[in-house]
Subunit: 333 residues, 2 copies
C-alpha cells in the first residue's frame, strides 16, 4: 500500500503539500495541485483513514446496541440510523447484545478504547443499562421509556397504549386481556400503565389475572393467548404489547375456531410490515422507527462533537392504525 510520502516523492513535493492538497486544496498552488493529483492517480493512493482518525483521536464510528437485530422494528430503526450515519461520514458498528450484559459491556469497551465515539442504545432494560454505562461516554437512548436519563428519543408508550385500550372500550369491550412483555421491561411497564389508566377512566376495575407475560416473540404470544382463552371468563379482546405476539396469538385463536374480530378483537404495537399483510390485518400503533433512527444519530453526533443539545428528550408522535382485527364486543353492535 502506498502512503502519503510515496505520493509526495513522485509528485516532487513534500508530504505536507500532499496532505494539504487533499484537505485544504485552497492552500495549494494550482500547479502543485495538479502534480499531486496525477501522482495520486498513478500510484492509486488512498489516504489511510485509520491513521487520520488516530491523529484526530476520533473514530468517526458509533456503536448501535440492539437486543435483537432480527426484530423488524429495530432493523428499520437501524437502517435509518445507518443512512444518516453515512451522510455524516460516520460508520455504524453493529452491537447485537441478545440481551446479554457481557456483550453490552464488550461494546461499551469498544468506545472506551477509542474504536467508536459513542453509542446509540436501543436496549430497553434501563436498569442494567444505566448500571453499565459510564457517565462520560456519549450515549443516546433511543428506546426510551419515561424514566430514562440522559439524551433520549422516545415515544409516549403510555398514552399510545391508552389510545388503543380506549378504542377497545369504545367498542364495548370490558374484559380486555393483556399480552405483556417481560414484567420488568420498561416498555411493558409504560404500556401497562396506559392500559390501567384507560380502564380506570372508564370505571372498569383492573384484574391482574388478565395480564399474561410474553417476551415479545410470536411463540410467547401464542402461549399467552392460550392462557387467556382458558380463563374462567374469557376476555373479548386482547391488547398485545407488540405485533409479533399478536400474530402468534391470532394464529392459535384461529386454530381454536375463535373468529377475529367477531369473537375476539386483537391489537398489536409497532406496526411491522407483516401486520398489514397478515391474514386478519392487525390494528396497531405505528412508531416512527425511521424518524427515530435519524434523530438518534443527529443527537449522538451533537453529543460527540460537544454541541449543546437544544432538548434533552424528544417524544415523537405515534399513529393509531385501525385494521381488521378489532370489532365490537360480542353481543354489541
Amino acid at each position: 500500500m502506498s502512503n502519503i510520502r510515496d505520493v509526495a516523492r513522485l509528485a516532487g513535493v513534500s508530504a505536507a503539500t500532499v496532505s494539504r492538497a487533499l484537505s485544504h486544496p485552497e492552500k495549494v498552488s494550482y500547479e502543485r495541485l495538479e502534480k499531486v493529483r496525477k501522482a495520486i492517480a498513478q500510484v492509486g493512493y488512498r489516504p489511510n483513514m485509520m491513521a487520520r482518525n488516530f491523529r484526530f483521536a476520533r473514530a468517526y464510528a458509533v456503536v448501535v446496541l440492539v437486543p435483537d437485530i432480527s426484530n423488524p422494528f429495530y432493523s428499520l430503526f437501524i437502517r435509518a440510523l445507518e443512512d444518516r450515519a453515512q451522510q455524516k461520514g460516520y460508520t455504524v458498528l453493529l452491537g447485537d447484545t441478545r440481551g446479554i450484559p457481557e456483550r453490552e459491556i464488550e461494546y461499551i469497551r469498544r468506545v472506551e478504547s477509542h474504536l467508536a465515539d459513542g453509542i446509540v442504545q436501543l436496549r430497553p432494560d434501563s436498569k442494567t443499562t444505566q448500571n453499565n454505562m459510564p457517565p462520560d461516554i456519549p450515549c443516546v437512548n433511543a428506546c426510551g421509556c419515561e424514566y430514562t436519563v440522559g439524551p433520549a428519543i422516545r415515544i409516549d408508550n403510555r398514552s399510545a397504549a391508552k389510545t388503543v385500550v380506549n378504542y377497545l372500550i369504545s367498542l364495548g369491550h370490558k374484559c380486555i386481556g393483556v399480552i405483556s412483555g417481560l414484567k420488568d421491561n420498561p416498555h411493558a411497564i409504560d404500556r401497562l400503565n396506559g392500559y390501567k389508566e384507560a380502564l380506570a377512566e372508564a370505571g372498569i376495575p383492573f384484574e391482574k389475572d388478565l395480564v399474561t407475560e410474553g417476551d415479545f416473540t410470536m411463540w410467547s404470544g401464542l402461549n399467552a393467548a392460550v392462557k387467556l382463552c382458558n380463563m374462567k371468563v374469557r376476555p373479548t379482546a386482547i391488547f398485545s404489547m407488540n405485533d409479533e405476539m399478536a400474530i402468534g396469538a391470532m394464529q392459535i385463536l384461529k386454530n381454536k375456531g375463535i373468529r377475529i374480530p367477531e369473537d375476539m378483537s386483537v391489537t398489536g404495537f409497532d406496526d411491522i410490515a407483516y401486520s398489514k399483510y397478515s391474514d386478519t390485518s392487525l390494528t396497531t400503533i405505528s412508531q416512527p422507527a425511521e424518524e427515530m433512527g435519524k434523530m438518534a444519530m443527529d443527537m449522538l453526533v451533537q453529543v460527540i462533537e460537544g454541541e449543546p443539545l437544544s432538548q434533552l428528550e424528544y417524544v415523537l408522535p405515534t399513529e393509531f392504525i385501525i385494521r381488521e382485527s378489532t370489532g365490537p364486543a360480542p353481543g354489541k353492535k
Copy 2:
C-alpha cells in the same frame, strides 16, 4: 484520557514494560506486573485500540454489505455473522446498500482506506458487484449463485426450487405460476432454472407468461398474484421466490375468495419466522441463514489472515418444509 506513559510514570516503569505487561505478561517480573496492574486500576487506563490497530495496520473490522437489513433472512444471517465476529475479536460495520451502487462503493472504499479488513457480500447482483470489487480486497460472497467467483457460501438455489416444483407437480398441479424476483437477479435466475428443469422432467411445457416479476417485497407479491389470477387459464399453484412475496400473494388471494390450498397452492422460499405463523402457514424452503453467517465470517477471516482456503465454495443444504399452503390440485384427490 490517560495513555500508556501515564501508567508507566505512575508505576515507576517504562512504557514498554506496561505494554508487555498487557500483551506478554510472561515476560515481565511479578513485582512489576503488580505495580502496573495497580497503576492501571488507579488511573482507569484503557489501551487505545485505534493506536494499536494503526500500528498493526489492521482494523479488526469487517464490512457486511447487505441490500436491506430489514429483510428477515438477511438480519438472521447478520446476527450470526456478528456473533462469530465478536468471538474472533472483530467488529462488524453495517453497510446497508439498498441496492445503490454508490453506497456499495462507499463501503468498499472503507476497506481500501483501512477502516476495515474485508467484506462479506450479501448482494446477489453479481454483475455489478464484481465490477465494483477490486480484486485485491478480501471478500467473501455469501449470497452466492452458481456463477459467483471467489470464496463463496451458498445454497443450491436451482435444486431447492426444483424440489418445490416437483412436489407441486406430484400433487397434480400442471399449471404453476411463478412470482420471480427481478429478472436479472441471480437468485431468481437460478430458481427459475430449477422450475424449468422440474417442468421439463415432468413433460410439462414451459409457459413464459406464467412467470411474473416481483422485487421480493410483499407488495410486489400481491401485485404479481393479481396478474396470475387474471390470466385466461388461472394457475392452480404459485411458486413464489421468497416468503414475503408469497405472503403478499396469499393476502390478495384470500381477499378474492380464493381458498388456500383448496383452490390454489402457494409456496415460498427462505422460511422466515412469519411463514410459520401466517394464517395459512407457508410451505417453503428453509435456508441455514445462521450457519451461513458463521461460515462467511470464518472464511473471511481466513482470507484476511492469509490462510489457505481448503475449499473455495461451500454449498449448504436446504430443507423443504411442507405446511398448510399446499394441497392437491383442484379436481385431484
